[in-house]
Symmetry: C2
Subunit: 237 residues, 2 copies
């Protein structure tokens, strides 16, 4: 049942059946006011060459989170990335090959720091969540579940910053939240709320690329965030 390469102290469950376990990774980035997801052409049968999330099988000797990190690293070169489990997809016949259950995680990455050259060998590309093609198996379901989860989490935890570079402007931050919730946000109310939490550091430099006037850069300040939490309040947008 269990791989020979990993020897457990005893085999208590030798009468039990084991199943193939995969991980699928919803790698999300933010670009041009839109959330994007990295997809690639499935490199093996069945459904070879169809669009698919980044995935891989869990090995006998690795933990679940290890497997997800390995897959993320293989396709993006990134480590230490914010990830969260979305859920398990385990109905019979969800995979056309064999009986496989798959565990979906999403990752929030800075697209500019992401090297997809390795993934591009499998035809990988970033696609906007608004123009996502049909993916193999239940991968589209995984994506919609991920977006719902992200919407919930981003409202109460400061995880959105993972999608931006170290420095960002408030207009960019607002565009990010508008992309996550797919609805416009009032500029003044947004600024009031985010600045009231006092978790951002205003820099003296401006981004002059996206406007003539130029918008000040800000940084997320983890220490300030800890203070907010310690004071009994919490992140909320």
């Amino acid at each position: 049942m269990i791989s020979d390469s990993y020897t457990m102290p005893e085999h208590f469950y030798s009468d039990k059946e084991s199943v193939l376990v995969a991980v699928d990774c919803i790698i999300m980035g933010f670009h041009e006011s839109d959330l994007h997801i990295l997809i690639a052409k499935r490199p093996f049968d069945p459904l070879r060459s169809n669009w698919s999330l980044m995935g891989g099988f869990v090995k006998g000797n690795e933990g679940l989170s290890g497997a997800v990190q390995r897959v993320l690293y293989e396709y993006t070169g990134l480590t230490g990335i914010y990830m969260e489990q979305v859920g398990v997809y385990g109905e019979m016949n969800r995979d056309l090959g064999e009986r496989v259950i798959s565990i979906a995680h999403y990752a929030l990455v800075d697209m500019d720091k992401t090297d997809i050259s390795n993934a591009e060998k499998h035809g990988a590309k970033w696609v906007s969540i608004r123009t996502l093609p049909k993916l193999v198996f239940d991968h589209n379901l995984m994506v919609t579940d991920t977006i719902k989860r992200l919407q919930q989490r981003a409202a109460v935890k400061p995880i959105g910053f993972n999608l931006l570079g170290d420095q960002f402007t408030l207009p960019t931050l607002q565009a990010l939240y508008e992309a996550i919730y797919q609805e416009p946000i009032d500029k003044r109310n947004f600024r009031k709320k985010i600045l009231a939490m006092d978790i951002l550091e205003k820099l003296e430099t401006k981004d002059k690329d996206s406007s003539k006037k130029g918008a000040f850069y800000y940084q997320f300040n983890k220490e300030k965030y800890e203070l907010l939490i310690q004071s009994g309040l919490h992140f909320s947008l």
Copy 2:
């Protein structure tokens, strides 16, 4: 890798390793103003006779939800119960036996309709979440994750009613929410809010057991709830 008893059309992934997959079930009930969980003494090694959640191994020929429903039925005799996936627990060595990943689901049941006589053969009993003993492996973590999830869900979906009988009084319903959130709720504000949604049907009968005056029974009305949703509003407590 895959069980002989279930034949897939082809074996595409024959070079992959498979792992044991279990399901664990956090069976929740409501009794005497407290949330309760069904636990039992683990019937096999390792850690035989230690307190444990209700669980079982996923069979080669059954879907995940099928496995959870099977386990729930075995220990409670119940079918058609509200359940939700909490997550996967899959680090190496989380189980002392072999490498096992477990998928946790919680179930919301009416304790009065639950027959635990079968489970009692394994020493099963209901325990309050406030006096939960140490459970095997990471089962305590599963319970705390479940409670967090339940708190989130019960605030926006009318799932709490699954913990009550068909008929219930408003004082009982309030006690349920106080148990879920572990904090007192103002009686008048609670009634105002729940009745404003217009999803309850007031009956003419009273519960005279828990007070001298007696409290009117109410029923959750699914049709009324659908109307609320159709009108663009949503459940919120």
